[in-house]
């Protein structure tokens, strides 16, 4: 339960950074934290207290393996979602760099070309 709370707290921290902070890099970091909060939640979904890794060792007992192994599906999902997050992060950093090149500042309030 406490782990789920951790994911929720991280989600809140990310959302706070994204919405409240004016510095663009802080917004980017907020978004990354938010994404990883979701990833953390997904991992926890498949977690079994005291479970074994979902890798079958040669000659292991099949029934015990099935009941003890941690659910591998969320792990696969998280891996995919991390890859997506990576691409997103790269794009975000590249965009942030471009904004810095153009305005010499990363303050969201100085970006003035789009109003309304």
């Amino acid at each position: 339960m406490i782990m789920y709370a951790l994911a929720a707290v991280l989600f809140g921290v990310g959302l706070y950074g994204l919405l409240v902070k004016r510095h663009l890099l802080k917004k980017v970091l907020g978004l990354l934290i938010l994404e990883h909060a979701v990833n953390l939640f997904l991992v926890e979904v498949g977690y079994i207290e005291g479970g074994t890794p979902p890798i079958r060792i040669e000659g292991a007992d099949a029934a015990a393996f099935v009941s003890n192994a941690v659910d591998p599906v969320p792990q696969a999902l998280v891996l995919t979602s991390i890859v997506i997050g990576l691409g997103l992060a790269m794009l975000m950093v590249a965009l942030t760099l471009r904004i810095y090149e153009r305005y010499g500042s990363l303050d969201a309030n100085r970006m003035s070309e789009l109003k309304g």
Partner: protein, 152 residues
Amino acid sequence: MSDQQGMSLIVRVVTRWLFGLILVFGLAVALFGHLTPGGGFAGGTIVACAFVLAILAFGGARGPGATFARWASSLDATGALAFLALAILGYTAGAFLHQWAGKGEAFTLGSTPSIVLLNLAILLKVGAGLFAGFIAVALFEQTAESGKGADA
């Protein structure tokens, strides 16, 4: 980046020693991805790290990092196309992405050749893609370029 001579002697010598180790480890993680934790993505990340280390240590003008930097973008696309080609080869065994290359002895490198090949394609894609992304961000290159790193 090309005018830099790299970092101090200690970093260069240690990189010289470690580069092979990291690279072999990354490739092993990718090649044995069907048997142990790991796979193309994890291996590709490690391989990309090895090359990032090389380019930081030796500078952009020489060493394996510089060579790889020239080819990264093409290799990235090649890896993706190789994956798609392997997936299409699945049609020869019945359907898309089927296991066309047969099966070997269990728990060895050759137990499922098609997965090993797919892992290799992903390794190429992720390794080159990540490295290309690193270079793009480091060099302030075309912004839109890094958008392609997402589909690995």
